[in-house]
Every structure is written in C-alpha cells, then in structure tokens.
C-alpha cells in the first residue's frame, strides 16, 4: 500500500508529453490580483477566471444566452456585465449557430470571443459553424488568421435534469481536426485552464462538468502548476491505473478510496485535455501498474476511452498485463433522470472493471 493523494497543484506530478503553449506558462505567471489561495466552487472559479481574462485583454468578449444581467443559467458570468458593460458581455439572440458564426467574424476582426452554450445538448445547432468553419478557418487561410474562440459547454449527468441537459458530447469535437478540447475536474483547474484556453490562438471547446459546479475546492491564484494540455496524476497507486476527465475524476477518487480499503492501490489520472491527449503520465503509470481502466460518462462506442485504449495498446503493449477496459455510459440516449444512476459509471462500476483487469 502506498496510496498518496497528490494534493499539490504546483509542479508536475509526473513527466508529461504535453507541449508548452503560448497561453502557458507565461499566462500562469502573469501578475494577478489576490495571489495566495481561495476556497471556491467551480462556478466562482470560472467566474474569476473570466473576469481576470477580460481585465488582462480588452479584446476578450463574452457571448451567449442569458449571460448578462442573469449571469447565465449557472451564474458563471455573474457580475461581468456590471464590470465590463454590454459591449463586452453580449446577451445574444437565442441561436447557437448565430453565436458561433458571429464569434468567428469577431475573431477575424481580432477579438477573442468566449461563447457560452447553455447546455450540452444545445450545442448542435452550432455544430456546423464549429466543425466546418471555426475548426478550419486557420487551415483554409494557410495560417494567416487565428481563431482564438473559446466555447464553454456545461456537460454531463448527475444533476437529475430533463432531456438534452445531461449529455457528454465531447467525442464529436475531439474527432474534429483544428479544435482543442479540454475539461477541468476541480475549481483550481477551472480557474487556470479557462484563462489558458482564452489565451490560446486555437479554438478551444471547454467542457465544464455541471455536477462539479458547486463543491468547493482550493484555488491557487498565484500559479497553475500544470499546462493546459497536460494530464496529471491526482492520486498515486501501484496496482491499477484509472483515467478519466471532468466529473469522472471525483468518481475515480471515490473508487480509489474504496479499493484502498480492500487493499488495492489505484492510481488516478485526471486527463484534463481530451484533444490533444497527453499520454506521458498514462504510459508512465501503466509501466508501474500494468493495468488500465478508462472511465467516461459518454457513450463508449467510438469514444475518448476507445481512443486511449487503442493508443496505449499500440504504444505500450508489453507493459500491459491485461486488456485496457472501458467504463462508459451505455450506447443509448441519456435516460430519464429517474434511472440515470444505472447509466452513469459509479465507483462500484469502476471497481468492477479494476477487479476484472486485475483478475487476468
């Protein structure tokens, strides 16, 4: 037993293959008011990150539905219109393609729009502008223009809501060349990753795990500690590695706790970046444990978990002592909330997969 929860948010816990980006670490080292730490829920951390990005760069704009006086349906943009005015915080007409399409025009003009999509299932009216236009603009212009657009999407289940309000559509975006896709799992990462996404000259799809919006966590306001596109070991272990992103990370940590009580040491990796994927910590961990389980709320068929399983098999076949196993949402529509706990990967379902892997 050598379970150690990695609580430090400064310094890399493991080697990473993630490349430095212009948004980092320069952005992370920028002087910001209120160095030190704060105990915030993710919504407030995101709000602070947006506020900081808008203060740092007058070209940063907010666009979305109900993001002005209401502050967004999750209050992530609360107070921004009061500080920055309605020229920089645009309550838009209710049209997602219109939001993304005009954001592209604003980016061509030199602005850095941050678009809020109200719920995961509402992004699809804007899907064409994201995949056929936003993702390809730089390529089509042979590198002569940049598309520093961030699209924030609250996603995932566990909130007992109605249809189209609990989806996990990240695979669609990860499959699209030209986009970057990230998802923080905790308030500290939310604060920093959002600022780094805004500083990036590439379009970034920023998935915010709704079920993690409200639990508080410590935010180190002085430095990020981890590049935007790096994955990170959040709990060390020796017997099996479990990988996930967003809300799944807290499920994995619960699973690791339960496993520890049964004498199994599970290493937990927070993926953080879905495109590109940083395989450095994953491969280093698999070298140690020989067992890998990938967990996700999204449908398993043709998924991020499938991609990781295939790549680890290609890169580290002889390190594996068992097949890479996936724990996913089923390949059905997200069900009525009354039965969502049967659909969503739970700590027990993760442990079932860990046990299966260890039994090979």
């Amino acid at each position: 037993m050598s379970d150690t929860i990695v609580t430090s948010t400064t310094g890399l816990a493991t080697p990473t293959t993630a490349m430095p980006t212009p948004g980092h670490p320069a952005a992370a080292k920028r002087a910001i008011p209120g160095t030190g730490t704060a105990n915030l829920p993710m919504t407030k951390a995101l709000n602070a990150g947006l506020r900081q990005a808008m203060r740092d760069n007058p070209r940063v704009l907010m666009m979305g539905e109900d993001i002005g006086p209401l502050g967004g349906v999750f209050r992530v943009t609360e107070g921004l219109i009061a500080e920055f005015g309605d020229k920089r915080v645009l309550d838009t007409p209710l049209a997602e393609s219109g939001i993304i399409g005009t954001a592209i025009g604003l980016a061509l003009r030199g602005y850095r729009p941050v678009c809020e999509i109200q719920f995961d299932g509402f992004v699809f009216p804007g899907f064409d502008q994201i995949t056929s236009q936003l993702a390809r603009m730089r390529n089509r212009h042979e590198g002569e223009v940049s598309m520093p657009v961030v699209i924030r999407i609250p996603y995932g289940g566990h909130i007992g809501s109605i249809e189209h309000h609990q989806e996990s559509p990240e695979t669609y975006f990860a499959h699209t060349p030209g986009l970057r896709v990230v998802s923080p799992s905790n308030p500290h990462d939310a604060y920093w990753m959002l600022q780094e996404a805004i500083a990036s000259d590439d379009p970034v799809i920023f998935f915010e795990p709704k079920s993690r919006y409200w639990p508080k966590g410590e935010v180190n306001l002085a430095e990020s500690g981890t590049p935007l596109h790096a994955s990170r070991v959040v709990r060390s272990g020796t017997d099996a590695t479990v990988v996930g992103h967003g809300a799944m990370v807290s499920v994995l940590l619960q699973a690791a706790d339960l496993a520890a009580a049964e004498g199994t040491s599970v290493e937990v990796i927070d993926l953080r970046s879905i495109s590109p994927i940083d395989y450095g910590p994953i491969l280093a961990s698999v070298e140690k444990t020989g067992h890998l389980v990938v967990a996700q709320e999204a449908h398993g068929f043709v998924s991020v978990g499938s991609e990781i399983a295939a790549t680890v098999m290609e890169k580290a076949f002889y390190l594996l002592e068992a097949p890479v196993l996936r724990v996913s949402g089923f390949d059905t529509p997200f069900p009525p909330a009354a039965v969502e706990t049967h659909f969503l990967p739970s700590p027990d379902r993760v442990l079932e997969a860990v046990d299966r892997a260890l039994s090979y």
Partner: protein, 363 residues
C-alpha cells in the same frame, strides 16, 4: 434604371437612388463595361480549363456580371467583402488576382489568398450561408472598434455579404439577419437571386419575393434589376453609406439569372425550360450596357479594344493557371493548429519517414 434595351429610363421607385449615379464619371462607365466583358471572357476560359482537366471544378458567373460589378464598385476601400463562391469579378475589383481563385478550384489550396492583402475580400465559403454570420460578426467588431458611424464616409467601415436565393433558405442566413438587426450592424446583405439553386427553382425557396423578408427582420429591403449595373451600383452605394453612417443593415435582392450551369458538374438542360433561358439571355447585362454606352456616343474603337483586352486577359490567366504548382505534402499538417499539437507532429514525422523508406523516396 436602364431598360432591357439599354435606354436610361428610371422608374419612380429609383428616384431616391439616382443621386448616387452622380458619383460616376464616364471613365467609371467604361470601367464597368470593361470589367463585365473581361470577367465573362475569364469565366469562359476557366470553364474551358476545367473541361481540359486543369481545374477540379468551375463555378460560372455568366449572366450575373452587372449585379456583381455594380455592387463591388459601390464599396469603399475600407469596407470588407464576404463572398459566397461565384463573385469572381467582385474579387477582381477589390484587387484579387483571379488566378488565386483558380488555385482553390485546381485543388492546390483550400483558400487561395489573404483577405487583408486583397482589398478585404474574404475567402470563398462553400457551405451555403455560413459567411453571412461571419460577415455579421465582423461588422459587430467594426462597431466595437468604433470604426464606423463616426460621420466620416471616407473612413467609416461597412460590410457587404453576398449570398443567393438557395442560401436564403439556410438557417444561418436567417440567423445572420436576426443578429444584424439586433445589433444594428453596418452591413448590406446582397442577395443575388439567379433563380436556380442547382436544379431547384427559387419558387421552391420562397413563396414571397425575397426582398420582402427584410421587413420581417426589421430592416429595409430593396429589389433591383440585377442585370442593370447602374441600379446595382446606386442602390448598393446608398445602403452601404447608410450602414456606415450608423443606420443599420439592409437587404438588396438583385434579380438576375444563372445563364450557365451551377458548376461544370451540372447539366441544366435536364431541368430548365429553354424559353426561360432565352428570356434572360435577351436581358443580357453586357449587351444592355453596351447599348447604353453606344447611346452616349462611346466610340466603337473602345468596345473593340475591350474585347481584345479580354482575350489577352484570358490568355494570360490560362498561361498562369497552367503554371500553378502543387504544394508540398507538409501543407497537410501545417496550419491545422496555431500552437504545437503532438498528434499532428507525430503524424507528419511518420509520413516523412514512411515515404523516405521507399527507394528514391521524397523525405
């Protein structure tokens, strides 16, 4: 303003636009004519290049020259132009080398030019109506920059976006009108109703004349004879200058006709009535404007010289089109992302290694 016979006979509804014609000199008239003739000759040459296997596809503009030339000359240098994919002469008037258009249609690039270096003429957009939203967003940026509505038409900026009767049915075209009206963008929507979206007639797109839709969005809508280059100029000039003066967006529907095929992959004989074609050919914008110029006493030598210039122009385009070289394979990977991306870099290195592994391989 011009009758089909080329007689200056403005209708009553044209009265408010007539003062804008005062901006035109005789040299401008000659330039209008020259550009219409040259682009038609260019258009024929490009279609020939496609038939000879030198282009993957060609998108003819035959018949729409007056709508495009008049509206393009109504723009000011500081304006931004968002085309669809058939506005070749608009690009030429804004300073684009048409060989750059051929580069895209020859399959050596997905774009072809840098808008800021070519009269703010943005890239062609092949997905219908996507560019209408980009144009609206760009116009919103002009407002945020304070680059419009200062009261100085010599510097105040505006946007013109081109789309068509087919694209008018797309959601994006309608969302662009909503956003433009909502934010009162400095913007003209220039809708070329050429009557056909490949094989689907405009009657399938709309039960109402398309310019009437503008009222539903809360902006002025004007229908013009799109084969009258003077009407196209004057009406666009008024709406663009109104937009740059802070009066918000407007929609112009230019009634014209796609005399040729949708593209070189199309066969309009399968779905079009020859009588409709004959009707519109009789209203040819170039013939009409030539009659007008002749009525003004323009010498035949000028008209002959323009024909000769058009032939030379087309020959030059052909020569340079055949000289377009394929890009290096690095173009596959370069510029997908602004910042380093490990997967793309890994795949680029792999392809280099793989191709170098063959004897005489190109590393």
């Amino acid at each position: 303003m011009l009758s089909p016979e080329g007689v200056f006979a403005p209708s009553d509804s044209a009265a408010e636009f007539l003062p804008y014609l005062d901006r035109l000199t005789e040299a401008d008239h000659r330039r209008f004519y020259r550009d219409m003739v040259v682009v038609r000759r260019f258009d024929t040459e490009a279609a020939n290049l496609q038939r000879q296997g030198q282009l993957a596809l060609w998108v003819p503009s035959h018949g729409q020259e007056a709508a495009q030339v008049g509206s393009a000359y109504a723009t000011r240098p500081q304006d931004h132009v968002f085309p669809s994919y058939r506005e070749h002469v608009v690009g030429m008037i804004r300073g684009l080398d048409p060989v750059d258009i051929l580069r895209m249609l020859r399959g050596v690039t997905l774009g072809g030019w840098t808008p800021e270096d070519h009269g703010n003429f943005h890239l062609y957009t092949l997905v219908l109506a996507s560019q209408t939203l980009h144009a609206t967003g760009y116009a919103m940026g002009m407002q945020l920059d304070g680059a419009t509505a200062t009261g100085n038409p010599e510097t105040d900026q505006a946007v013109i976006v081109y789309y068509g009767d087919g694209a008018s049915s797309q959601g994006d075209a309608n969302e662009a009108l909503v956003f433009a009206a909502s934010y009162q963008t400095p913007q003209v929507f220039f809708l070329q109703n050429n009557h056909w979206a490949i094989s689907v007639p405009v009657t399938r797109q709309s039960r109402t004349p398309l310019y009437l839709r503008a009222a539903g969005f809360g902006m002025p809508g004007t229908q013009i004879d799109g084969n009258d280059v003077l009407a196209s100029f004057a009406v666009t000039a008024k709406h663009l200058d109104d937009a740059r003066a802070g009066h918000g967006p407007a929609l112009i529907e230019a009634l014209t006709y796609r005399v040729g095929a949708h593209t070189t992959a199309d066969d309009p004989t399968k779905y079009r009535d020859p009588e409709q074609l004959a009707y519109w050919v009789a209203r040819d914008p170039i013939v009409r404007f030539r009659s007008y110029l002749q009525g003004l006493g323009v010498e035949p030598e000028f008209l002959d010289a323009v024909d000769e210039e058009a032939d030379d122009y087309a020959a030059d385009v052909r020569r340079r089109a055949l000289d377009i070289h394929s890009p290096e394979k690095a173009v596959i990977f370069d510029n997908v992302y602004a910042e380093p991306h490990p997967l793309i870099q890994e795949q680029k290195a792999w392809l280099d290694h793989y191709e170098a592994s063959f004897e005489g391989g190109d590393a």
